[in-house]
Symmetry: C2
Subunit: 355 residues, 2 copies
Amino acid sequence: MSQRPTLADVASAAGVSVSTASLAFSGAGPIAEATRQRVLDAAASLDYAGPNPLGRQLRSGRSGIVGVVVGDALRRSFREPVSVQLLDGLVDAISPLGLGVLLVPGSLEPGAPLVDPLVESAAMDVAVLIWGGTLDDPTLQALQRRGIPLVVVEGQDLPGIVTVGIEDRDGVADLARHLTGLGHERIATVTLPFGPDRRSGLADATRLGQITWSIARRRLDGLQDAGVEPVAIYETPASLVEHGHAAAQALLSGPAATRPTAVVAQSDLLASGVVLGARELGLRVPEDVSVAGFDGLDLPWLAPDVLTTVVQPITEKGAVVGRAIEALLAGDTPADEVLGVEVRLGTTTGPAPGA
Amino acid sequence: MSQRPTLADVASAAGVSVSTASLAFSGAGPIAEATRQRVLDAAASLDYAGPNPLGRQLRSGRSGIVGVVVGDALRRSFREPVSVQLLDGLVDAISPLGLGVLLVPGSLEPGAPLVDPLVESAAMDVAVLIWGGTLDDPTLQALQRRGIPLVVVEGQDLPGIVTVGIEDRDGVADLARHLTGLGHERIATVTLPFGPDRRSGLADATRLGQITWSIARRRLDGLQDAGVEPVAIYETPASLVEHGHAAAQALLSGPAATRPTAVVAQSDLLASGVVLGARELGLRVPEDVSVAGFDGLDLPWLAPDVLTTVVQPITEKGAVVGRAIEALLAGDTPADEVLGVEVRLGTTTGPAPGA
DNA sequence: GGCCCAGTTCGAATCGATTCGACCCGAGCG
DNA sequence: CGCTCGGGTCGAATCGATTCGAACTGGGCC
């Protein structure tokens, strides 16, 4: 009798059948109040803390778990604040539904055929890929094979998979128009990684053809939409302050006559690195060079400066994913969603020098 | 036949019994290679992606899930990098064991008797509280009632619960001795929250008696151990850059004769806010005021400055928690662990002015 | 007094796998 | 030639709950 008590133990202690005892806890079905109380008392005296979730799950076929594939995102921890905030919003959104978030490591090594054991065999009712995902991704394939409904955030449209994204292309275009409106003509850009190979440095035409992660592609295309042909494209291996800093060194060291007058970074972390790098080169922001980012984080360490950026509704993204999950579990097939973004003017952009 | 196939379907398709089919997948027990292959082929042709985890879990009594109670930590997302990095280390540590991390929201409101539904009824084999936890915490109590083994990180010692912590008291003491060695005599300190009421401002003796979160207490005591009696204690509502900034305004605005010559912050984020605030007041760091932190994060936005701080092994902490979990699941009762820390000298501390 | 109905309670099947002991069969040995 | 041994397979019980239909109970009504 060292085992934890089961519903059967409680039932016999209360002098009722197992089915009645179950009713007392689940509340599904009619039960006399007196009986219910007797069962609850028996449970209390046995230290029974409620029905074992495993039994319930097997019966219902539902685990109540949403697997979130975090890829490298979590590994880069607070350095990838967008992912973490999304995770936060998602937890908030699905927690009231009684669902929990299970962290699932993504691909172990780039290009490796292996996936984390959890991908193969953890119980989950739905899975979310928060960092995009291409059709040939082994993690995505394994989940599809298991028949687990998927929601992909910030990925390209995939057939038969629900996607949630933002209008980042339009947002960057708006931002670019803001800059051209200020008279900027030599605009450089600092991008997110092109793909799993995560290179760093100036990208030429060949390299531009090798973009596999669509997020970098879309944000580049936004510039084109606004008629901006960047004078330089600097690719970074990750969205980190230090890579933005390095980009600034590479892009802004030349003479004023040819130096870009504005830099558009594809993330706020990169942008803040560019600001710091520019200052270090003795350039004033925004008098000598304007800098803009993407995401809309608050960056207290830039204070009193405020970054000009494209604000995306990260928390709402989590909520939207939550709703998609709810629909999937109800058997519906929710529509893809694309959330709007908004340019927020800060103090890091201004008129082009000499304009 | 619209349902997903079960092991029974595979077995009958392969012309073997269910038990044999189970053997083919689990590898536990003898099975002829030919038979195994036949079962696997049948599975492939039926699109059977492996045994349903729910069935397996019920039978084994194990869910393979570690519940991690994140409290406000995740909510503050990248602003609480220590928690996120710990989470990262923990995922790394237990993923090879085939265990997954389930995020469990902590107390919904301070003082509320309610706990998140997941706390009451999610399947988990072990739970981890990563932000400490006192005996009267409803989340902790609920988990104890369910008979779920607990690991508490950075909490006070609790009877019958495994704790993992660091030598933060000694670390702060070492740091304080470094400062007194440099001739500092007027040392102020900026602390983590005292408790769930999260006040902000200078703390007097009365307030100092109201510390419920032991982490702030221990790090204060470290100063005493080194014989340092702080000239001012500034309490913050959260470990954020902006609160460190505010603390600097409050502590460093006075005349040089009475102004503290050094500030010890209980976290790196607070410390970096102090540095920024000091600079804004026109003070040079470390010539006019020395600043030190705690944690050992890398703060690229302070570059080229490097914070003097007490480095704690965050990732290793995750690994240690992982080992404790492993031991608990094996039925052992692992010992409490206290990890060492190390003072790392940076560029933000120097000789006391005039010394 | 008999019948019917609403309100409760109960038995048994079910979810999908694992596992233990029984059983079968062929090979090796006496 | 018969017996034993052991590898391989199978049946059935089991994990802990939910759920559906059947059965039982007592009260009200004719």
